[in-house]
C-alpha cells in the first residue's frame, strides 16, 4: 500500500466509510504506527475546525423565510398560468381528436357496409350494445375524461389521444346498428 493509499484509507476510516473488509487491516496499522494515528487525529481536528468556523450562520427567522419562499412560488405559478394555455384547451384538443376518430371510423364502417362490410365491424360487434348513434358522442366524452386528471398539462394531449385510441380498439363504443359484420379481419 502506497503512502497515499494508506492516507486515503485513513480518511475513509475517520469518516466511518471504510469497507468492513479493510477495517481490521487499518486498525492493525493504527495500533502500531504513530504517524498513521497522527493523521487520523489531524483529520478529526480539521473537521472540527471546519464545522466550528462554519457554524456561525446568521440567525434567520425560518418561519418567515418559509413564507417568503412559498409566496415566491405562488407568484411564479400565477405568472405561469397567465402565459400558459389553460388545461381545458388541452382537454378540448383531446376530445376533438377523439370525436374526429370516431366520425372517421363511423364513415369507414358505413362505407364498408355499403360494400359488403368493414374490418372495424368485426371487432366492434363482439360486445357492442347496439346503442343509438347519438350515444357514441356521449360515450366518447366519457372516454376522453379518463385523461382529464393527468398531472402534467403537457402530457394531457398525448394521454387523451392514447386513451381515446385504446378505447376504440379494445372497448367498442360506437353503435353498430344497421351495420353488417364481415368475417376474418382485425383492427389494431
Amino acid at each position: 500500500m502506497s503512502e497515499e493509499e494508506l492516507e486515503f484509507a485513513l480518511s475513509e476510516y475517520h469518516d466511518g466509510t471504510l469497507p468492513a473488509a479493510r477495517r481490521a487491516e487499518i486498525e492493525e496499522i493504527l495500533r502500531t504506527d504513530a504517524a498513521a494515528r497522527r493523521k487520523v487525529e489531524q483529520f478529526a481536528r480539521l473537521d472540527a475546525l471546519m464545522r466550528d468556523g462554519a457554524a456561525r450562520m446568521p440567525e434567520i427567522q425560518w418561519d418567515r423565510l418559509a413564507e417568503h419562499l412559498s409566496g415566491a412560488i405562488d407568484r411564479s405559478q400565477r405568472q405561469r398560468q397567465v402565459v400558459s394555455y389553460p388545461i381545458w384547451l388541452y382537454r378540448g384538443v383531446g376530445l376533438a381528436a377523439a370525436a374526429a376518430i370516431l366520425v372517421a371510423l363511423g364513415l369507414f364502417a358505413e362505407f364498408g357496409s355499403m360494400h359488403g362490410g368493414s374490418p372495424v365491424q368485426q371487432t366492434m360487434v363482439a360486445d357492442a350494445d347496439i346503442a343509438p348513434p347519438a350515444a357514441a358522442a356521449a360515450e366518447a366524452d366519457e372516454v376522453a375524461e379518463v385523461s382529464v386528471d393527468q398531472p402534467a398539462a403537457d402530457s394531457a394531449v398525448a394521454q387523451d389521444y392514447a386513451s381515446a385510441n385504446s378505447v376504440l380498439v379494445h372497448r367498442p363504443v360506437i353503435s353498430l346498428a344497421g351495420f353488417t359484420p364481415v368475417e376474418g379481419t382485425q383492427v389494431h
Binding site: E7, F8, S11, E12, D15, T17, Q42, F43, R45, L46, D47, L49, M50, R51, D52, G53, A54, R56, M57, P58, E59, I60, Q61, W62, R64, L65, A66, H68, L69, S70, A72, I73, S76, Q77, P151, A152
Partner: protein, 190 residues
C-alpha cells in the same frame, strides 16, 4: 403508542415529492420547511453572504418546484435539491445579481443594519475568514464535497447526487480537500 403513531404518520420526503408531482402544492411547503436551513447553509458556505444565500435558496426552491416533475426517483430529492442550490451558488458567485427580492431585515434576527456588514458582525473573527478563504482555494467538487459532507453532514450518497458523481468519488474529493486544507490551515491544526 399514540406518539409513535403520529411520528410514523409524518410523510417522508419521497412521499411529499410524489404528492407535489400529483398536484399537491402544499406538500412542497413542507419540503421547504424541512430543507430550507440546509439549503441556506450550503449557499452561505459557498457565497459567504447571507443576502446572496437567501436569494439562491429562493431561486433553488423555485427551480426545484418548477422541475420536480422531472425527478424520477423521489427518494433522491434532497441530493437533487441541494445540487440545484450548489449549482446556483457557484453560478451566482461567477455573476453577481443586482437586487434581491427578499427583505433581509425581516428575515435576520436582530438588527442587521447595526454597524457595517451585518453578516460579518454576526460571524466575526479572523478564523472564519481564513476558513472561507481556504475553501475558496479548493477545486469546485472538492469544495462542494467538503461543505456538503464534512460541514453540513449530508450522507455521502446524497453528496454524490448533489455533485453528480459516485460515492467513491465523493470519498476521494473529501480526502483531496483534507490534504489541501491541512496545508493551508496547518497552523490551526497543531
Amino acid at each position: 403508542m399514540g406518539t409513535d403513531k403520529s411520528v410514523s404518520e409524518e410523510p417522508s420526503d419521497a412521499e411529499l415529492v410524489r404528492r407535489v408531482q400529483d398536484g399537491d402544492r402544499a406538500a412542497f411547503d413542507r419540503l421547504i420547511e424541512r430543507h430550507q436551513r440546509r439549503a441556506v447553509a450550503i449557499a452561505y458556505r459557498l457565497l459567504g453572504n447571507a443576502q446572496d444565500a437567501l436569494d439562491v435558496a429562493q431561486d433553488a426552491f423555485l427551480k426545484g418546484f418548477m422541475s420536480i416533475e422531472t425527478l424520477e426517483n423521489p427518494q433522491s430529492y434532497v441530493g437533487w435539491q441541494m445540487r440545484i442550490v450548489s449549482n446556483l451558488s457557484l453560478n451566482f458567485r461567477r455573476g453577481r445579481k443586482g437586487k434581491s427580492a427578499l427583505p433581509l431585515d425581516e428575515l435576520l434576527v436582530g438588527d442587521p443594519s447595526a454597524g457595517g456588514d451585518p453578516i460579518r458582525n454576526a460571524q466575526g473573527g479572523e478564523m472564519e475568514a481564513r476558513i472561507r478563504s481556504a475553501l475558496a482555494q479548493l477545486p469546485e467538487k472538492q469544495r462542494l464535497a467538503m461543505v456538503l459532507f464534512t460541514i453540513e453532514g449530508l450522507p455521502q450518497k446524497q453528496v454524490a447526487e448533489a455533485i453528480d458523481c459516485s460515492v467513491e468519488s465523493v470519498k476521494w474529493h473529501v480526502f483531496q480537500a483534507r490534504k489541501k486544507l491541512k496545508e493551508i490551515l496547518g497552523e490551526y491544526l497543531q
